[in-house]
Amino acid sequence: MRDHQPVVIDEFNGLYNRGDDDSVPADHFTDCNNVAFDQSSFKWRPALVPYLPFANIVRVYTFIKSTSQSLICLDNAGNFWDTDYPATPFLTVTGATDFAFQGFATRCYISPSNGNTGINGEFTYVYLGDGTAARKAAGDKPTDADGLLAAANSGSAGNVEAGIHIFAAVYETDTGFLTAIGPVTLPALTAPGGKAVNLTVIPISPNSYVTNVHIIATKAINPSFYTGNTTGYQFFFVPGAIVTNGTTTLTVSFFDIELLEDATYLLDMFEEIPAFNGLSTYHNRLIGWAEDENPIVIRVSVAGEPEAFNQVDGLLIFPTNALPVTNAKEFRDVLYGFNITQTAAWTDNGDAPSSWPNQFIDQGLGASPHTVATVLDSNGINANAILVGNLSGIFMFNGSYQLPELTWKIRDTWLAISSANFYKNQLVNDSINKKIYMVLDTGLVLFADYNNGLDFKSIRWTPWSFDVFITSICIHDQKQITFASNGLI
């Protein structure tokens, strides 16, 4: 037409939903669905195609094994599946509608939850990834019924120093967990000095996953000052005093100076770890949060011992006591804890977790159980920043929240997400292909492409919808995306 100035649109930068349609830039969509982006253009989204025939899945995680990867899934009947072993679930917890997952070494820890807290009366389980049934993590300590440990001075020469020595036993499980100290009745032996000690009736664990029994002992106690409280003294692992479960006798000989490895911390270990709503790691420790009875507590294991949770000092308490802890992640040597609207940080000072200093990072922005974006298949976090989704949007977080949020352009779309069901949403970051997937409680997916840049202007958003209800998502084998569905919408 004469005098008509054509408007050229040579870029398509996704959905813009912030205020009136009049405010939508020409290179954005006022509305869109099921598109994807290719350089400056757009196209159909990728198709959903069958991957594995596991029915009614409500949550899926990637499990990295020693030589392969599998998926750990929960269906809507409380059955937990390893996709490597499709015939039989490795765990069934009736009432589980969600679960926490954390791989550690070649095994993984699983905690059934209801999406907000761990299930009341349930526990954290360990699964070895070999198709055998999962079992409760940690383990029972020696009991008097297992064997009333007895100690007697040997007639043979030895190094046990004169004084009172208290002896006890600790079980070791097939995952390396050391139980609390037992049995209840501990022998206190008055050693004359220069003799060995014969131990008999070493407790035998009835649990098949117990492999060894460790003998621990106190250094010599002056009889004049002995209180009679057999658990009131410091215990040490006796060097070399390890027997296989089922062996009931052992002769030990040690100088006090050889007792170097403290075992007293085992006195207060959980024998059964409560179920959490979330699991992660920090400084080679397993951490879990939002147990049903203590939703503002983050439990922290002993370093290098993922099942060793001290009931007394292995915990962090969120600075405010109002809302359950929803997430926790390690980033640049700091442990960040989140509730739905707040973020706090703790730093490992090398002492018991209960002594770690904490500070508030933000008292207006937090996260949900599944909205701290994982990176690829590591179930870990990006080295430069992490993505955190909350009621206000998706933010870059590098120790503080970067403004504006990445969802700035689709503010109205974001605010329309149900806040009551926000805990069901899941955020995943594919940093190789530079894509973000946000699974919503409605079964839809919010998709973003950030090949043009990870900032609020360059990122390109679009909703995706399907004929099936998407419940969960994971990335495995570096770049394969897997969506879980529990059926037709």
């Binding site: 100035q5 408007v7 349609d21 009049d22 939508v24 969509f29 006022t30 509305d31 869109c32 669905n33 099921n34 598109v35 994807a36 159909w44 989204r45 198709a47 959903l48 195609v49 069958p50 991957y51 594995l52 025939p53 596991f54 029915a55 009614n56 899945i57 899926v60 998926l71 269906d75 009947a77 409380g78 996709t83 039989t88 679930p89 490795f90 765990l91 069934t92 917890v93 055998t132 049934a133 999962a134 029972d140 019924a145 297992d146 064997g147 035998i204 009835p206 649990n207 098949s208 009931t248 004929d467 099936v468 209800f469 995306i481 897997t482 969506f483 879980a484 529990n486 059926g487 037709l488």
Partner: protein
Amino acid sequence: MANIFLEDFDESQAAFDALWTPQTPPGKTLTPGGVVLSGNWNSCSGEVSYREFTSTPTINVNFVGCVKIAAGNGSEYIYIACPSITGGSPSFMVYVVNFTSAGRILFRMNNVLSAIQSSAGVVPTTGASFGLQVILERLSNFVVTYDFVVDNSSVWSGTFDWTAFAATITSTSDFYRVYLLSTYSGFTNTFGMDNLSVEDTLDYVDVEGVSYLSLVNGCSGAAANPVTVIRGSGLYTLDPTVRHDKLYRDTTTPTLIDHVKFPDPFATTSLIGDE
């Protein structure tokens, strides 16, 4: 010596049967996730499989339990608990059977030492899984006859007296429960076996004629909660080369696929022109 299935117990056989929770179908058939005893049994009820009945202390209890064990399994345990309840805190006698990788059977009572063990190789260490029956006849609190049967052949039997360890065992009472457990724990924290065959005779059960699951998982493991497959459910991946979605019709028949169009793909722009 009494046989709980042929003797009058609890006033009558019908009364005995009535105390079991019914499970269909009736009959002496082992089924995954549960077994039946004369038409009345429910395994994994409240996480344990048990039968409570009254008896006088002089009436003995005997039963047969069948399991299938993977050969060479040195870490599988069977716990057969005969607790007594005195109206207060329960205490119990637990017979523990386990195996070594050398094919020995270890047999204990209340875990008091590995009291007796068979010679090596009485149970297979390689090859296919084997069927094991444990036939116990408890003659008194501390005396039991035992007979271990592997694939229909008795491999180890005898009588053992644990009286020397009586200090750890409580006396009998009026009530007994017979449990078969997959894990050893306190009385209220036990998991029942998936499969139990309790016969009305002491003859050997033909293990080839029954089906059963591994003991390993117990109630909370191998017997999955039933799932009604919902159409469209499954695990999916993305394929950028395909222009329509492919959905499972039924994951039990994964080759049946529905091909559906993308729901409503579109993009709308808003152009503001001169008036």
